[in-house]
C-alpha cells in the first residue's frame, strides 16, 4: 500500500489538512471532472490506459479508472491532491523534454517510455497512480471505476459478490 501521504513531523501537523486546500479544477466550470482540470483528466486517462491497456478485454480507460481517481480525490484521497497536480505536471514536462509534446499527444509506445522514466524519477507519484489505476480497474464499481464490471467479467468473477443475496449497493453508473 502506498504510504506517500505520510506526513513527517518536521512539517508540522497542519500538513495533515494542507492537501485539501488544493483547489478543484472543476471549479472553473470548464472541466467535466470534480478535481482534475479537463487537461489533467485527459492525461490521467491516458496514463491509466498505458498501465492497464485494452486488448481483447477492456482496459483501465474503458473501465473509467480516471473517474474513480477523480471521485476519490474529493473523498479519502483528498490528501493526494497535491501529489496528483504535481505528478501530472511532471509527466507532461517529461514528455515535452523527451518527445517534444504533451503526454496525450504522444503515440502509445512513446507514452510507455515516458512512464517508465517517471516510474524512476517521480517514484512516489507513479506508485500512487499505479495503485489507484488498479483499484479503478479491479475494484468495486460502486466507487466510480470498473464500469460495467469489465475486469470482473474478464476474470470470470460471478456477481453479485455474495451468493443468494442481492441487496448490496449496486454500482451507481457515473
Amino acid at each position: 500500500m502506498p504510504n506517500s501521504r505520510r506526513q513527517f513531523l518536521g512539517a508540522g501537523l497542519s500538513a495533515a489538512v494542507a492537501g485539501s486546500a488544493i483547489s478543484c479544477g472543476a471549479s472553473n466550470g470548464a472541466s467535466p471532472w470534480r478535481f482534475f482540470t479537463a487537461e489533467e483528466g485527459r492525461t490521467v486517462d491516458a496514463i491509466c490506459d498505458r498501465i492497464i491497456p485494452a486488448d481483447r478485454d477492456p482496459g483501465a480507460k474503458e473501465a473509467r479508472a480516471v473517474n474513480y481517481i477523480d471521485l476519490q480525490l474529493t473523498r479519502p484521497f483528498k490528501r493526494y491532491r497535491k501529489a496528483y497536480r504535481e505528478g501530472i505536471a511532471a509527466v507532461d514536462a517529461a514528455s515535452r523534454k523527451k518527445f517534444g509534446g504533451r503526454f496525450v499527444e504522444l503515440p502509445a509506445g512513446q507514452q510507455t517510455e515516458v512512464l517508465a522514466d517517471i516510474e524512476k524519477s517521480s517514484a512516489a507519484f507513479f506508485e500512487l497512480i499505479l495503485a489507484h489505476t488498479r483499484q479503478g480497474f479491479y475494484g468495486d464499481p460502486r466507487h466510480g471505476g470498473n464500469r460495467n464490471r469489465v475486469s470482473w467479467k474478464m476474470l470470470g468473477v460471478p456477481f453479485p459478490p455474495i451468493r443468494g443475496l442481492e441487496r448490496y449497493d449496486q454500482p451507481k453508473v457515473g
Binding site: 500500500m1 504510504n3 501521504r5 505520510r6 506526513q7 513527517f8 513531523l9 518536521g10 501537523l13 495533515a16 498505458r50 498501465i51 492497464i52 491497456p53 486488448d55 478485454d57 482496459g59 476519490q72 473523498r75 479519502p76 510507455t112 512512464l115 499505479l130 495503485a131 489505476t133 488498479r134 483499484q135 479491479y138 475494484g139 468495486d140 460502486r142 466507487h143 475486469s151 470482473w152 474478464m154 476474470l155 470470470g156 468473477v157 460471478p158 453479485p160 459478490p161 455474495i162 451468493r163 443468494g164 443475496l165 448490496y168 449497493d169
Partner: protein
C-alpha cells in the same frame, strides 16, 4: 449528573473485553463496557472490496475513524504521522466485537512449547524471549470453554502435534473446497500431517446462529448471516441479557482515574457528544488491544506513577509484536478457484517446532479467497508491474493461483514499543500512540524457512511455477498485535501478574492480547479468549463484594 457507580468498568469491547463482560455480569457484578467504536450489525455488511478491515485503500469499514485517530510511526524514513488506513498504523479495529467482528476466525490453541519458549530454545540474541508464567495446562479448560461456548468448527484430530485436549471440537468442518482437495494428498505424500482448519465459524447451526453459507468475501467483512462468531454476537449479548451490563459505544476513554492512594476509582471518557464523563467503579479492566491498552496506561499519570500506570520499571508498551507472515504462491495449469468461501481450509503444524537451528516456526494454511484487487499483491516478482504483461498474467493466473502462508512466532524485542507522543494529539486532545522498533533478524530466518516449506507443498501439489513473499524487517503489529503489557511473576520485568492484574495497583487488570509473553505460531484470538475466561475466573475468586483481595 454523576453516573451511577458500578463494580467493574471494562474499557474495550473486543475479544478480551467481551468475554470479561459476560463472565463478570453473569456472576452478578454490575458492569459498564466502554467502546470507542460503533455497534455494527449484519446489515452493515457492504462487501466493499476497497473499504473493509483488510483492504483499506478507501478506509477501514469497522474503525477507527480515519480523521480522528492519528498515530506517530518512527522508522528508517524518520518520524511521521500515520492514519488508520495506512500500513504502518498497526490497526486492528474499533467497534463492538473489536477485531472479532470482521476477522478470519481461525481458532487456534497454542502448543505446550509456545508457553515455554525460553526454556525450550534458550536466549535469542537481541530478543526478550521469555516463558509465560502459566502453562498450556492452566489454559486447557478455558480453551475448551471458548471452543464450546463460542463455537468452533473443524477437525484437528489429524494434528499429531497438538497439545493434549480433553474434547474434540463441537462442530464438524466445512466441506472441503478445491484447494483443500489439491493440497491434502500433496501434504500426505510429503509425510506431513494435514487437517481441517479450526474456525470460529458455524459449519452447522449452533447456539441459535446459522451455518456459514460459503461466500467469497469473508475475512475483513461483516458476516451477513452471523455464522462467523465474534464477541458481538455471543458473549456481549449474553452479558446484556443478565441485566447487569451496560454497553456504551462511541466512548473514547482518556485515562484511568486514581485516588490519593493510587487505587483506581474509574475512568474518564468522551461520550459520543464529546462531553467528558467520569464513570466510577470498584475495578477497571483494560481491554483495548495491545497498542491502545499500553497507550491508556501511559496516559494515566499520577504522583505515584509519573511515567504512567503500571510502568514503574518501564515495561509498559515494550515487546510489541504480532506475527511475521511469509507466503508462497503456486501457479497451476488448471483452475484451482471454485468460488467456495471462506477459502482457508487446510493446515499443517509440522513446522511449528523442532526446526533445526531455529527457535520455533509457524503453522501453514492455504489463504482466504483473494479479491481481484488483493490479487495484485500475489503477482510474482518477475512479472512487469504494469502494461500488457501484467494484465495478461492477472487474467491467466487469477483463478489458477494457490497461496499458502502462516504466522511465524516472533522473537519479542524490548525496543519494539508503544509510547505516547509528546506532541501529537488525537481529535479529543489525547496524546497518541508512538510506535517504533523492528523485528528480530532471527524471526526473518524462521520466515524464510517456513516459506520454503510452503513452496515445497505447492510444488508437490503440481504447481508449474512457485514464488515466495518474505516480509521485511519493519515493526510488526496490526491485527495480531500483542505483548505490550507482559504477564510475569517479577514486577521488574513484567506489567501484570499471572491473574492479569497490574503489579502496581490492586484493582486494575489488563485482559487482552497485551499480556501475551509470546504469541505462538498461530493466530492469537482463541488464546485471548481462553485467557480472558481464565483471568475472569481468577478475578471472581478474589472478588469480595466491593473489591478484590490483594
Amino acid at each position: 449528573m454523576a453516573l451511577k457507580h458500578v463494580n467493574a468498568l471494562i474499557v474495550g469491547a473486543g475479544a478480551g473485553g467481551g468475554v470479561v463482560a459476560k463472565e463478570l455480569a453473569t456472576a452478578g457484578l454490575s458492569v459498564v463496557l466502554l467502546e470507542r467504536g460503533n455497534w455494527y450489525s449484519a446489515a452493515d455488511c457492504r462487501k466493499d472490496d476497497l473499504r473493509n478491515q483488510r483492504t483499506t485503500v478507501l478506509g477501514n469499514a469497522f474503525g477507527p475513524d480515519e480523521d480522528r485517530n492519528p498515530r506517530v510511526l518512527v522508522d528508517d524514513r524518520g518520524e511521521g504521522i500515520v492514519w488508520p488506513s495506512e500500513s504502518g498504523y498497526s490497526n486492528n479495529a474499533a467497534c463492538v466485537g473489536g477485531g472479532t467482528f470482521s476477522y478470519g476466525a481461525q481458532a487456534w490453541r497454542y502448543m505446550e512449547k509456545d508457553f515455554r519458549m525460553r526454556s525450550t530454545y534458550g536466549a535469542v540474541a537481541g530478543s526478550t524471549l521469555e516463558d509465560w508464567p502459566i502453562g498450556y495446562s492452566d489454559l486447557e479448560p478455558y480453551y475448551e470453554k471458548a471452543e464450546r461456548e463460542l463455537g468452533v468448527s473443524g477437525d484437528v484430530s489429524n494434528n499429531i502435534f497438538q497439545a493434549r485436549r480433553n474434547q474434540g471440537l463441537p462442530m464438524p468442518p466445512l466441506s472441503p473446497n478445491k484447494e483443500y482437495q489439491i493440497l491434502l494428498p500433496a501434504a500426505k505424500r510429503l509425510g506431513w500431517h494435514p487437517f481441517d482448519l479450526p474456525m470460529l465459524r458455524n459449519s452447522v447451526p449452533y447456539n441459535g446462529r446459522a451455518a456459514c453459507m460459503r461466500c467469497r468475501w469473508c475475512v475483513g467483512f461483516a458476516c451477513e448471516v452471523n455464522a462467523r462468531t465474534g464477541t458481538h454476537n455471543t458473549v456481549i449479548p449474553a452479558a446484556l441479557a443478565t441485566g447487569n451490563c451496560e454497553v456504551r459505544t462511541g466512548c473514547m476513554t482518556r485515562e484511568i482515574l486514581l485516588d490519593d492512594h493510587g487505587q483506581a476509582s474509574g475512568a474518564a471518557y468522551f461520550d459520543p457528544h464529546d462531553r467528558l464523563q467520569r464513570q466510577t467503579a470498584d475495578l477497571v479492566i483494560v481491554c483495548c488491544g495491545a497498542v491502545e491498552s499500553a497507550r491508556l496506561l501511559l496516559n494515566t499519570r499520577h504522583r505515584l506513577f509519573p511515567n504512567g500506570l503500571g510502568n514503574r520499571y518501564d515495561w509498559v508498551g515494550r515487546n510489541l509484536h504480532a506475527h511475521t507472515y511469509p507466503a508462497a504462491a503456486g501457479l497451476f495449469d488448471y483452475d484451482t478457484y471454485d468460488d467456495i468461501g471462506p477459502g482457508a481450509s487446510i493446515a499443517i503444524c509440522d513446522f511449528n517446532h523442532g526446526n533445526p537451528g531455529l527457535a520455533g516456526g509457524g503453522m501453514l494454511a492455504n489463504e482466504f479467497i483473494r479479491l481481484p484487487y488483493q490479487f495484485m499483491n500475489q503477482v510474482p516478482p518477475w512479472v512487469p508491474r504494469w502494461g500488457q504483461a501484467h494484465k495478461d498474467f492477472v487474467r491467466t493466473a487469477y483463478k489458477r493461483t494457490v497461496t499458502i502462508m502462516g504466522p511465524v512466532q516472533e522473537m519479542p524485542m524490548f525496543d519494539a514499543r508503544v509510547q505516547v507522543d509528546p506532541k501529537v494529539k488525537d481529535y479529543w486532545g489525547i496524546p497518541v500512540a508512538r510506535l517504533s522498533g523492528k523485528k528480530n533478524p532471527h524471526t526473518l530466518e524462521i520466515a524464510r524457512f517456513t516459506a520454503g516449506k510452503a513452496e515445497a507443498w505447492l510444488q508437490e501439489a503440481g504447481a508449474v511455477r512457485t514464488w515466495q513473499r518474505i516480509p521485511g524487517p519493519s515493526l510488526s503489529g496490526g491485527q495480531h498485535q500483542a505483548g505490550t503489557c507482559r504477564m510475569g511473576n517479577d514486577p521488574k520485568t513484567s506489567v501484570v501478574d499471572q491473574d492479569c492484574r497490574l503489579h502496581d495497583v490492586d484493582n486494575v487488570y489488563v485482559i487482552d492480547a497485551s499480556v501475551h509473553v509470546t504469541n505462538g505460531g498461530f493466530n492469537p484470538v482463541l488464546t485471548i479468549f481462553a485467557n480472558a475466561y481464565r483471568a475472569s475466573h481468577r478475578l471472581l475468586e478474589a472478588w469480595k463484594g466491593s473489591k478484590v483481595r490483594s
